[in-house]
């Protein structure tokens, strides 16, 4: 059997502030094979973002191991992590996080500036990525000139332009209306099915799960077994 792309072993994350301890993640074990599209669900505060951050090397686990493509993420220092993220991780945020003073083109080009590509090569990559998300005609628009859905598509183009190993999306539809949300989810599904991108999608949205291949639920820092859904208590 081939090695899973992401291996998480006995992962815990405890936040300590003064004397208060918050157990954000408790003894998580999870394998994600290459080419998977996993929807990670759970109520607010269940530890979804924390898990995603640890996989991306933006946060360190209190204990346990995260391996991505065989590399132990938590062992790298800040600079190694930065370079590793540039090559292997595409991140999509709930709030898009485009740089407001840069155009769509320039935003998508940003991660490529860290590669050795020539200006001409960068241009080709950027245009390909923007075409893929359906924004070939918005290349020179600034974020404020785009709709929320379009902004998120630019952000997705920025996440895929370096051809990363894995795409991590933290509630990418959280700030979008239903229609735009569906467009984004469809786009992610296409990236998975047609370009075989491995995607972890963190979401509250039960509809999102229909687009993913698998679905796992977190509750109070504990990863529930496959097929078990978290108890709906606080949601209206």
């Amino acid at each position: 059997m081939t090695q899973p792309l992401v291996e998480i072993r006995n992962l815990s994350r405890i936040f300590r502030r003064d004397s208060v301890e918050v157990v954000a993640l408790k003894d998580i074990n999870l394998d994600i094979p290459e080419g998977d599209f996993l929807a990670l669900m759970g109520p607010s505060g269940s530890g979804k973002t924390t898990l995603l951050n640890i996989i991306a090397g933006l946060d360190k686990p209190t204990s346990g191991v995260v391996r991505v493509g065989g590399i132990e993420v938590q062992r790298m220092n800040e600079d190694e992590l930065a370079e590793w993220r540039n090559h292997h991780v595409g991140f999509v945020f709930q709030t898009f996080n485009l740089i407001p003073v840069l155009t769509a083109f320039e935003n998508v080009e940003l991660p490529l500036l860290l590669t050795g590509l020539s200006g001409q090569e960068r241009r080709e990559h950027v245009l390909t990525a923007l075409k893929l998300v359906g924004l070939a005609d918005r290349v020179d628009h600034y974020p404020r000139q785009l709709s929320g859905g379009q902004e998120q598509r630019v952000a997705i183009a920025r996440a895929i332009v370096t051809d990363p190993t894995i795409i991590l999306a933290d509630e990418p539809t959280g700030n979008l209306d239903a229609r735009s949300a569906e467009e984004i989810l469809t786009l992610l599904q296409q990236l998975n099915e047609q370009l075989h991108k491995t995607i972890i999608l963190v979401t509250h949205d039960p509809r999102a799960a229909h687009y993913a291949k698998h679905e796992r639920h977190l509750e109070k820092g504990v990863l529930l077994p496959p097929g078990v859904t978290y108890t709906v208590e606080e949601r209206a």
């Binding site: 991140f91 740089i99 840069l102 920025r158």
Partner: protein
């Protein structure tokens, strides 16, 4: 490749008001700094360019300047025939006995008066300063109460225009010419016939003597002979050196300039720091995003430092442009050695502008380093959570 410069440039324009205020404060500091330095440079240049390397100026030992010095006619005659003194075409030694007095004149448009140097010279004295030339009117005639006035003095003092009459000595003197002495100390003087001046002031002796040596070796020779002559107790010195010593007045002005600039500079540094801290806080999320995309801490530090530098250099550039028009404006100050007015022009040299820009850069770097460090150190995970 680093974070592109256009990112910093455009970001500065997003926060227009705060950027403009900081740019203005840095511009002001640079303008004041360059302005005061231009004053000092002008003063220095006015005096340093004075003198010919072959000229030897003789005055009484113990007197700071020509004004407080006296040399007997007998000593003058002895000096004229020292070996090494150059002869002119007529076979006469090139040596000029001169008298220097000071009169008080009212400044144009002001009640206040100031001391102005009057120099009595012979035709040889004129030949010794070939850089001096008449720009209006004519030369004074020996034996008449006539004077020529430097253009700078004429611009700044009453009764010194062509055709005006000046009262000093025993009566009225007519201004018959205006001269330009090529940015030397003589640009702050009024010249007349030495004999007429001597008779008006009952002077038996000269104030100073200027000699032209045949060559550089002769300069040393003449100085040695005069200084070793026990009869007269005189001090001989290359003319260039004498005027260089008088530039000491520029020292305190420079010091003052530096002091004002540093005090104001510290203020501007804080303005820059404030702007940059605000920028870092405002862009917390952007910084975190850049880190997520793979930019290292060093890149973030460099980017914000660059932004601060950019801010300061824009300020510096505006400051330089603001101060440029003062170049060439004539002003005056008291010469601390002679207690008379030195007229000179503000001099803004390319070197001075470079200093101004460097000073601006320094303010940018100091103002930017702490905010840039804060930007580089922030944790992306925490920043994204706060957003």
């Amino acid at each position: 490749m680093a974070i592109p410069l256009k990112y910093n440039f455009r970001s500065l324009f997003v926060r227009r008001v705060s950027t403009a205020m900081t740019v203005l404060s840095i511009a002001l500091v640079v303008a004041v700094f360059v302005g005061v330095m231009a004053l000092a440079t002008g003063l220095e240049m006015a005096l340093v360019t004075t003198g010919d390397p072959l000229n030897v100026l003789v005055r009484r030992r113990g007197s700071d300047s020509e004004l407080s010095s006296f040399i007997s006619r007998e000593a003058f005659q002895a000096m004229r025939f020292l070996p090494g003194v150059q002869m002119n075409a007529d076979g006469a030694p090139i040596a000029s006995g001169e008298i220097v007095v000071v009169i008080n004149l009212p400044k144009r448009g002001e009640q206040k008066g100031s001391n102005v140097t009057i120099r009595g010279v012979s035709p040889v004295g004129l030949a010794l300063r070939p850089q001096l030339h008449i720009v209006e009117g004519r030369l004074f005639q020996p034996g008449l109460r006539e004077v020529i006035v430097s253009r700078r003095i004429s611009e700044r003092f009453e009764h010194t225009s062509l055709g005006d009459r000046l009262r000093f000595g025993k009566g009225e003197w007519k201004v018959v010419g205006i001269f330009d002495a090529g940015n030397t100390a003589f640009d702050s003087e009024i010249w007349t016939d030495v004999n007429q001046l001597a008779s008006d002031y009952h002077r038996e002796s000269f104030s100073s003597v200027l000699l032209r040596a045949t060559d550089e070796a002769a300069v040393k020779e003449i100085i040695n002979r005069i200084e070793n002559d026990r009869r007269y107790n005189l001090l001989a010195q290359p003319e260039v050196e004498y005027y260089e010593e008088q530039t000491k007045a520029a020292g305190p002005i420079k010091l003052l300039g530096m002091f004002i600039a540093i005090v104001m500079g510290i203020g501007a540094c804080f303005a820059a720091m404030n702007t940059m801290y605000a920028a870092v806080t405002y862009r917390t999320r952007e910084i975190a995003t850049l880190r997520v995309l793979g930019f290292k801490r060093g890149s973030i530090l460099l980017s914000f430092l660059t932004e601060s530098l950019l801010l300061a250099l824009i300020g510096g550039l505006i400051g330089c442009v603001l101060v440029l028009p003062i170049h060439g404006i004539t002003t005056g100050t008291a010469n601390w050695q002679t207690f008379s007015e030195i007229a000179f022009a503000f001099r803004i040299t390319p070197e001075l502008l470079l200093w101004g820009m460097s000073f601006a850069a320094l303010m940018g770097l100091f103002g930017g380093i702490f905010p840039a460090r804060q930007a580089a150190r922030q944790s992306p995970a925490a920043a994204l959570r706060e957003g």
